[in-house]
Symmetry: D2
Subunit: 398 residues, 4 copies
């Protein structure tokens, strides 16, 4: 098994977003290119055609393929010959734009790799799900933390029963960058993320609690049943939550907690996950992603490290490594693993081969629907004094 077998040719990537000063757009391009299986060749980097053109050389992209809108890009690229047209579109713009871009790209037959949360609201997500189901494109959603080798190791160990029955899933996603009202200044990232017109119904919960929820789902495979949530906005005048806690009941009886903060001073991207099973427990921290601690009563604790060739790595986890143990792999590597798996399916589609739609290695449109449901039900629970709200969706991956 390999996540990055050679393709018959380098794929051609187009991007929406990624303009100068962008964070996540640039990450997408680096992640996509890491394995030499893809080259960025086109971009609607900005809605300002001049800015888009100025951005192009920072990616080594020819100005002729720097577009001023996603519509222009889809239109122009659709008309290029097969051996020049982009193979897929990455969507890295603010949340409120995902839906229309993704829908248009899918309908135009392009494979899509979309940033999270998938859409602005659940209704859009369910609509997009239909669009994707009616198409034959590959659709990946960059819940990038699922790309870390040790997360995949956790998943494979849990699904193999090594922790026994899952009882508890605790996740904390703690950041501090919004501890002050930076959205009032010249901070574009902060501005749209705290703006309900662009971010959606939730702030911290839309931006990062969704990752936390998704990771618990990915690692354990347990299906949620209901959620009770309390949100807070600590920075005065901010319009969306910047803190909150959700308690989750899973269908198997497990209890989950998700706490997300963007107001915890000095906390960077401190996302940690703990899972307790009847036979063992595990803990993983995103800021030290190359290791995971597994504990069992009566045994010394075990530190599983990302260590291909060691003999104790699970199949997908090992295939997700690019470097030997002790040579830190980080955020790009994980992100890149989402792309790598999507590329495999893009190649299959290009060859007319069948590929999995729902239980893919990478997060997909189904996960996107479930993430939007999570956001909406957290907000609804909060508005109803933390009442338990249902959290199961027929589209949930299982």
């Amino acid at each position: 098994m390999a996540l990055n077998p050679p393709l018959s040719r380098r794929l051609r990537m187009g991007i929406v977003g990624g303009g100068l000063g962008s964070f996540i757009g640039r990450v997408h391009t680096m992640a996509a290119g890491l394995d030499h299986r893809c080259t960025l060749v086109a971009g609607a980097f900005s809605s300002d055609p001049e800015k888009s053109k100025k951005t192009a050389p920072t990616y080594g992209v020819d100005e002729s393929r720097a577009y001023g809108s996603y519509e222009a890009m889809l239109d122009a690229e659709s008309r290029l010959p097969d051996d020049d047209r982009v193979d897929f579109i990455s969507i890295t713009t603010p949340n409120h734009t995902h839906y229309e871009i993704a829908k248009a790209a899918v309908e135009a037959g392009f494979n899509v790799i979309c940033d999270k949360p998938m859409t602005f609201d659940l209704a859009q997500a369910e609509s997009l799900l239909k669009t994707v189901e009616n198409s034959d494109v590959v659709f990946a959603l960059t819940h990038n933390y699922t790309g870390y080798p040790m997360i995949r190791q956790a998943r494979e160990m849990i699904l193999a029963g090594e922790l026994g029955q899952i009882n508890a899933i605790r996740s904390q996603y703690i950041q501090g960058w919004l501890a002050e009202k930076v959205e009032e200044g010249d901070h574009k990232q902060a501005a749209w993320r705290t703006d309900p017109e662009k971010s959606g119904a939730a702030g911290a919960f839309g931006d990062i609690a969704t990752h936390a929820f998704n990771l618990g789902r990915y690692v354990t495979g347990e299906l949620p049943e209901s959620v009770s949530c309390h949100l807070k906005t600590f920075v005065e005048g901010r319009r969306l939550d910047d803190y909150g806690t959700a308690v989750i009941r899973y269908q198997n009886g497990a209890l989950g907690t998700v706490t997300a903060s963007q107001i915890s001073h000095g906390r960077e991207n401190d996302f940690e996950l703990e899972v307790d099973g009847s036979l063992g427990s595990l803990k993983w921290r995103q800021e030290s992603p190359n290791e995971m601690i597994v504990r069992r009563n009566g045994k010394p604790h075990q530190i599983y490290t990302r260590s291909p060739g060691s003999g104790f790595m699970t199949t997908l986890a090992e295939a997700s490594c690019r470097l030997p143990a002790g040579h830190p792999e980080g955020f790009y590597g994980a992100f890149s693993n989402i792309y790598a798996a999507a590329f495999d399916d893009i190649a299959r589609r290009a060859q007319g081969l069948p590929f999995e739609r729902r239980n893919t290695v990478y997060p997909n449109v189904y996960d996107g629907v479930e993430g939007m449901l999570f956001i909406e039900q957290c907000v609804a629970s909060h508005q109803q004094n933390s009442a338990w709200m249902p959290l199961s969706h027929p589209a949930a991956r299982r």
Copy 2:
């Protein structure tokens, strides 16, 4: 300031509990004796007089003062001359016995140092409060984690405003020793702690979540308003909760979370506390008690270590240290600091000097009442589908 100034003489300690195989009883005696200010001279170590006598030499106690019941001890010691009688009684038996022992000891005029939770239920706690208020004895409750120097540093820094307005208080107290049904075997600790007749209305929440709640209160001084709780019993056939999560609204608008587990494999006594303020955040872990991390946006993170003489320790925190930096102090040291502060008041009382009753350095009967309220309201909230229950008490320390 010093927590352990020389007393005019060594105090004489009597203990209830602490029999062979006891854990917390022995801790009490070590903690009490660490500074050479106290000697254990009497004990109702067991309700079996023979066992009590057998235990005595393991403490260097004369058999003549090894009693078979607390009543016998109170009676005999009361009749001893002033310069021989015990100065205080430590209560280290299971929860359901605390009330009657404490009440009797207080009424007999003995100072009391009582293990937590203070009583079996809130009604007992409120009754005991009256008894103590009607007496002139010193009453300390061993929420021992408040004795750690770095916890006191945290408290003093927060009360001085160094973290600004307090927004969030997260605590996790994670253990694994009850992951299996060990109470069925020969595990006395497990047996009574999982028995509702002895432990009270809650299991993990009575045993350890109370510590977590108390520590948040101690460190921040913030008053709670209401609580929403969900409890679980994961080990089949167990009669009390072994896991749970409570969300706490504080009166100042802060949001708190307390998660307690006794079923997380391999987790030892993994109690951590995080506090977010508008100017900074802090994090402390009981298993690495000699350090605390303070973070502020725009500054390198700071590791405050237990380091007397460094110049950056606060007054009470520095007075709570016995060793130079880097020479690990642990559980005894913290426990001992509770005793040390109580000894100061015991000495004042003996000299007829006034002493503080409510805002003492050590946890006291008021904290005990609040702890019992917390347990009862968590159970009540759980029983009412996590409804928010009031959590303020007129006796709360402020």
Copy 3:
């Protein structure tokens, strides 16, 4: 300042080495491509032309530019038009081949990025230095650990005097992958690294102690004076050292230690550096590369994290970051920073602009000479019962 400003066009990379199963060759290509400033277009991936051709598609390289020898590559590429020819050659083959490849490439006018140690012995290194000095090419040496942002932060803080006078430089580079005689099996990496015909006079000391020595030099800028060394070969039958310790006297009076091991079970790439100055000390660990601890008596310890925009990062360190704080950057990022700085000079050369030759941002041929001197004097000291051997070289960067 930026390490990765847009270039007028993507550079074209050629590689020697990097065949299937290669570790470091693939790292070079990923590092080179990360910022979209370079595309791999040619490779002498293997000395077997068939294997070379088979490797090409794993890099997205056209088979027509997969060569069977470096000579063939230099020859063919030299004859390509300016706008097609590779801009630089990366040398990623075993040590004993570096010299002839590098010399030929430089003489053919190609910029060179060479893996370390630079050559097989000091004589070759000094000869190559002359070749480079007589050319106008850019020559970088991938002492990649100097590319970590926090290492650059350390360097800039130290050179600015923040630690005062440097007294001690301790480095440990501890690995375990050669704890058993894996070179006897099918382990190509192990085979050549333990073979004196390919690796040079030293094993662990050539492979990793050179990194440790180089990093101390880079971070502090202090010039060495002499070295006393003791080497060991613990695995029976191995022909080169797999363990050793060197003590280094620096010209300013500082004392250094370098310990390197390849036989420490389970140790992955555990390379740590500690520097003591008269005003402060620092510690950095390669396996947690995004942070560095700075300590000063009388102050809380400080954790400097890789955190662009925080305000406390130094200029080059900040320019060496691609991601926000808390989003782990790792081995690729650091490696890539070496390439990025070399690309800047390659672009200057292409435009006919002057560029620095000796005190470059990236390690260079001068550092390579000093590294080879270190290896040779360590071996010589060892052979003379750890006698102190001179360790200063006129070509040392200062």
Copy 4:
């Protein structure tokens, strides 16, 4: 097995040293008393009789037994009846006084517990060895770090062959408290430790490198053969070394390193030990003493924690625990374990039972001789340009 079985009565302790402001004296008394097996009843706390009397109540000692000199104490206590006289003398004064006090105490028939280094020089140590051998007293030396449970676990695992053949023993003992010339001020600890008249031939090497050497010896049992050493005095005007590195050849072929510093800013008592064997490696840090990492190629790393009852602790290690896992034990606990084992032998002697003289659980006079040899040979090697000096002694424990 138990380190602290009940004794027939509490032992009576006398101390030399421990005056107001003393660090290590107070530690001795706390350690001695922790298990209720001993009470401090007498002290030559200071050479100023008034100060000694003033100190007495801070220990709960009656003024009548506060002496102005060790001679006075030995004389007076010798004349007390058997059931009142001190059972042993703890020596906690500066190094240069150990010999005469210890010799006199032993000759007077008192058991002795002596701080390290044992004497001022090797000649004294060898003389004291003879005195002890000619007596029947118990003599313990407080190389207290050997008392940590996880150190004993390490020793027992290594002696049982779990790490295979021992190849490397690395220890670093890094402090910062002498980074400035604090001995010029009112810092008594610093004053005598930097004074060659009181400290002996070495500073940092006498004070802490001896611990590091001793711990390597204790944990592995390997016998040293020779040493090469380089010492430094970084603080201007200081008369003894405050930094140094020794390389040690062991008789079995292992290579050891000891680095000691007292000038590393902000480093507290950062003493770490790493041992590499042919089957595994381990690492332990004094500042996190309750855990030890064991690594083996091809296995997840293992964290052994102090966890009595877990099933994986070795016999002596488990007997050295007082608290359950996760309840931090620290410096006192370890120190106390030295006392506890000595008490066992003191009790045996009192009952006329035979007891081990050389391979005791606690460090003893033989270890003291070897420690003094280490100091002298390190200084000698340093003075001879790091020449290898023999390091084996017939009295070495094996």
